[in-house]
């Protein structure tokens, strides 16, 4: 039987809460985006929120996977995840910056709101978490 540690439970809780918050930000961003630019606003807000969700979740996933490996594996998983994420993000931004169906400011501000919101969720979760020093 496998048991889930407190840290794993925290990471899964943060993933769920972060996804909910980013969904909420995507909804609000879509409404605001619709009023700013009825044609391009909604897809821009949805893409911005999705980017934030994917990239904040990938960090969590890399730590979750790395925890199960040796120290060297942990380093490889976290730093490798960071490298792949940054290269992927640069390519996606490079593609979207030239795309016709994007309203830049709507996408940018939705992305920033989603990232800041997810950081707030992370901080609250860590501050309220009870991680025992030794887990048996």
């Amino acid at each position: 039987m496998t048991t889930t540690s407190s840290a794993d439970q925290l990471f899964i809780k943060v993933l769920a809460q972060g996804s909910l918050l980013i969904g909420l930000i995507a909804t609000v961003g879509s409404v605001v985006g619709y009023f700013v630019d009825s044609e391009k606003g909604v897809p821009s807000a949805l893409i911005g929120a999705s980017l934030a969700l994917v990239f904040t979740s990938l960090t969590l996933a890399s730590v979750l996977i790395g925890r199960r490996l040796s120290l060297a594996g942990f380093f490889g998983a976290v730093m490798g995840g960071w490298l792949v994420k940054l290269i992927g993000f640069a390519f996606v931004v490079g593609f979207l910056a030239r795309a016709e169906f994007i309203n830049g400011p709507v996408l940018f501000f939705t992305l920033v709101a989603a990232i800041l919101g997810s950081l707030a969720i992370d901080t609250i979760a860590v501050l309220s978490a009870r991680i025992p020093v030794v887990e048996g």
Binding site: A7, L51, L71, V78, F108, S118, I131, V134
Partner: protein, 76 residues
């Protein structure tokens, strides 16, 4: 007087921006992870606590990179 170019650069200055947005957080994340590994090697029983704190450090550091890389959407 003739003006002679001895060196010429061409390209987009935004590429330099991409580099700057990546290098700072890259160093930051590397430091956070390496210190966590160092601390885990010293006190393996604290691994869970250290990894949670590390992950929060990474989240804050990489937020800067993501925002920096997304600036072409408003400055382009």
């Amino acid at each position: 007087m003739d003006i002679t170019n001895i060196a010429e650069l061409s390209g987009n200055i935004a590429v330099v921006g991409y580099g700057l947005a990546a290098i700072g957080p890259g160093i930051g994340v590397g430091l956070v992870v390496s210190k966590t590994i160092e601390a885990t090697a010293r006190q393996p029983e604290l691994a869970s606590k250290l990894q949670v704190t590390m992950w929060l450090g990474i989240a804050f550091t990489e937020a800067l990179a993501l925002i920096g890389l997304a600036t072409p959407f408003i400055f382009a």
